[in-house]
């Protein structure tokens, strides 16, 4: 899968818009400033995913992409375990960090993920002029690589490379970190690239 620099830039910009929407919702939920990193975009061979996503202990809220692009691929909110506890503590008015992630945390994480990822997709879909919706979320709290490879095994068997689109959202005040991973199917990616091309063309 070869993408030109222009295509990579276009996807980065698209992701930037999506992530900004997600950051805004997180900022409202936490009533706190959220910083956003410059999105990283990489085409990665499945055999090398472990160089980018390791065995760190994280909460993963996973959505499949639905709407006009179905089956469209996956989008994942990754929150390191400590950050996940701080996030739900902040939301639920608690302070205890020495506890296990319980049912209350899990439903809070699902809800937070749902709000953020819906905002991400709203932002990108608005730009592209298509409908992209998240499926109901699924949650796992485990090794990041274990979750991501389980998602990959749900994609087309011919997929040997994936686009890892990664943005970090960060709350200095609450010391909360999270990543958004966007893994479109090849067909979805092509559709997105075509729509972006048309968009750029119509401006020029």
């Amino acid at each position: 899968m070869l993408l030109t620099d222009i295509q990579l830039d276009a996807i980065r910009e698209l992701g930037n818009i999506g992530a900004a929407h997600a950051a805004t919702t997180l900022s409202q939920m936490l009533m706190s400033q959220i910083e956003m990193s410059v999105p990283e975009i990489k085409v990665v061979d499945i055999g090398n995913i472990c160089d980018h996503i390791g065995d760190e202990y994280v909460a993963m809220v996973v959505f499949s992409l639905q709407g006009e692009l179905e089956p469209g691929g996956y989008i994942v909110l990754l929150v390191p375990r400590e950050s996940a506890l701080r996030l739900t503590n902040t939301m639920l008015g608690m302070t205890d960090m020495e506890r296990e992630i319980d049912e209350m945390d899990r439903s809070a994480l699902l809800e937070i993920g749902n709000i953020m990822i819906s905002a991400f997709l709203d932002g990108t879909a608005e730009l592209l002029g298509i409908v992209m919706m998240p499926s109901p979320p699924a949650l796992a709290i485990d090794m990041a690589h274990a979750g991501i490879e389980s998602i990959l095994s749900q994609m087309d068997a011919d997929v040997n490379e994936v686009i890892l689109f990664k943005t970090e959202l960060h709350s200095e005040e609450h010391r909360i970190k999270s990543d958004i991973l966007f893994m479109p199917d090849t067909r979805t990616l092509n559709d997105i690239l075509r729509l972006l091309q048309e968009l750029v063309g119509s401006v020029q």
Binding site: I46, G47, C50, D51, D55, A138, H145, A146, I148, S153
Partner: protein
């Protein structure tokens, strides 16, 4: 159960998704979910093989034999035999095949199906399974050193370790 601070041996070859390795070198996989680490071990020669299997069936695809259960088992077995191992000395261990997300995706029970396809491949070749940590809903990292009597170390996200 112990906490592992340095779980991976420094010299270990990391086997990524769909990859494999045959030889005397230590081998590891990071974070198995629905994928399965197939380990074939020859104790008499201190040599072994490992593949990081992602899907049960290759359906004729031959570009990445380590990625599919039905091509990975013969690949490792024939590879060990080609390096001088006798078939009757080869034993197997399996790790992984978990179901990380309940009720999600179209490809249901992919972990279970991976395990089943691998076991069929082992049975056909009369390879005995001497240890397995499979199924459930937790991710696992694996460390295997062929010179360590076929011992396989397994670590979970919370740091707990076990040995098979």
């Amino acid at each position: 159960m112990v906490r592992a601070s340095n779980f991976f041996e420094e010299s270990a070859i990391i086997i990524g998704i769909g990859e494999y390795h045959i030889g005397t070198e230590p081998k590891a996989t990071i974070g198995l979910g629905s994928c399965v680490a197939v380990i074939l071990h020859d104790e008499t020669r201190g040599i072994g093989a490992m593949a990081h299997v992602m899907l049960p069936e290759s359906n004729g695809r031959s570009d990445r034999p380590g990625k599919y259960a039905d091509s990975a088992v013969p690949l490792l077995f024939d590879g060990l035999c080609a390096k001088g191992s006798r078939p009757q000395n080869i034993t197997a261990k399996l790790v992984g095949g978990a179901s990380m997300f309940a009720f999600f995706g179209n490809n249901l029970n992919i972990g279970e199906r991976n395990i089943k396809a691998i076991k069929e491949g082992l049975q056909v070749r009369k390879i005995r399974i001497t240890g397995e940590v499979i199924g459930g809903n937790v991710g696992r990292s694996v460390m295997y050193n062929p010179s360590g009597h076929g011992k396989v170390n397994i670590k979970q996200a919370d740091g707990t370790c076990q040995e098979v």
